[in-house]
Symmetry: C2
Subunit: 249 residues, 2 copies
DNA sequence: TATTTAGGTTGATATGAATCAACTCTGAAC
DNA sequence: GTTCAGAGTTGATTCATATCAACCTAAATA
């Protein structure tokens, strides 16, 4: 109860990510019960895997700090990057059906995670309707994120993809209460290129252009958004279109 | 119990899709309980919507017969096709979190669905662990399908995309016990093009080539696969690569 | 401090698929 | 049967991004 925890080892009830992570909407005593099943281990070092494809599924993982890349390979050995997971995000949904992980999850930076042993977690969701609902949100988010990734790949050109990626990261930091127009991103341009279905050269050229045009700068691991409107415009997500999601076609 | 049902109105316990759909792994009496909550309505005509974006989420839908296209629009009004749902597939997962549908679902052919009112279904999963597990499979499938779609879009050229699409449809029919090298596909080439991130012209050219090369023919609504090996080869999914999903990079 | 190496940049060139345009086919409506 | 619209085809051309290649930079290692 009153034990001392390091910054990497905070209980759910003291965690700044409550609004994003599983505790959302839970009562104090319910959070306490969740806290009791959370397994907090030593942080992963950069380059360490949280899990690998084909590993047994033992737990869901909530990111506490750091960044994790979820990836796999095509049968010709090319890498596919499925996404990047930030603090508050949940990893492991891919294994719910088969009880084996389908992809690899690697820390891109020092990363600490809260491990939720699935057996225990599952029992708890049976008892706490709100936790079950939050689990649905997490799952749903995973599905919708995938669809958004597809949308980006089918319908956006290179400029729009890069702009949308930067904007998306900015939004995700904002929703976590961090600065959204200036932040540290421990993701290689190379990995972003793969995620966006582009080459590193193309990403590099586009970032050079964004910098020159006063849109945004991404040098080293620092992202600075100079003009949010320009960025949104470049991403092609500004034009509000009333009838857009109506089924008319 | 002994009521007469049309071909479009079969109870779960007599349904040929048991192996694919929710009843998988359930006991006879459990299937009975599932049967009791299923709401079977008149079939949808071609062009009718099962649900539209922003509709309230009331139920999950299991396709009994026909084909449904799940789609939405970008904010610039371009259509995005997320997938095609065949008999045994489940629609509505996209709404689990927000309790509102995110996309539009339209029948591409006369389509009958089994409606599972979510409230009742949810209660039943609480009581039947096997049904809950099957629900996890369904959700997981939705996530993995999305990832596979992304993979196709990032890493495959036009030929491979079309070949993989045809092969994928073939496999899905095969797993349902239908003919897999000759089948009816009520999907417009136009819709496939959108799904694959290509133009109708490109799809048309590729299909002409496949026909000329004796790979496969898709004329009108009839698909005939002439040479499965060639098709797999063209799709680029034949090369088996041992170390492919290992985390080495 | 020197060396190595992975990541990133920049330029020249190639190419796959989009675009534009004209035309044909097919099935539905009259 | 005729008309018409939407779907599909085919060809010529354009263009965005990949590819190839050389080089730079900074962090890691010796």
């Amino acid at each position: 109860m009153s034990e001392v925890r390091s910054a990497f080892n905070v209980s759910c009830k003291n965690c700044g990510l409550q609004k994003i992570c599983f505790p959302t909407g839970l009562q104090k005593d319910e959070i306490e019960r969740l806290d009791n099943i959370v397994d907090r281990r030593a942080p992963l070092k950069k380059g360490q895997h949280l899990f690998e494809a084909n590993d047994n599924f033992n737990a869901l993982y909530a990111i506490r700090a750091g960044v994790v890349k979820l990836y796999s390979f095509t049968n010709t050995g090319e890498e596919i990057v499925h996404g990047f997971y930030l603090p508050g995000d949940v990893l492991g949904i891919d294994a719910l059906g088969s009880r084996r992980h389908q992809y690899n999850a690697i820390a891109l930076d020092t990363t600490s995670v809260c491990s939720l042993p699935f057996e225990k977690f599952s029992n708890l969701t049976d008892e706490l309707p709100q936790l079950n609902k939050q689990m649905m949100n997490v799952i749903s988010k995973e599905v919708l994120d995938g669809r958004m990734h597809s949308e980006l790949l089918v319908r956006r050109n290179a400029d729009q993809r890069v702009a949308q990626f930067i904007w998306n990261m900015s939004e995700r930091y904002r929703s976590r209460g961090y600065a959204s127009s200036e932040f540290r991103l421990s993701i290689l341009h190379r990995d972003v290129a793969v995620y966006l279905g582009l080459t590193p050269e193309t990403v590099s050229r586009i970032l050079a252009k964004f910098h020159a045009d006063g849109v945004a700068t991404w040098k080293k691991k620092e992202v600075v958004i100079h003009d949010m409107d320009k960025l949104l415009n470049t991403a092609g997500i500004q034009t509000s279109c009333d009838s857009c999601n109506k089924a008319t076609a």
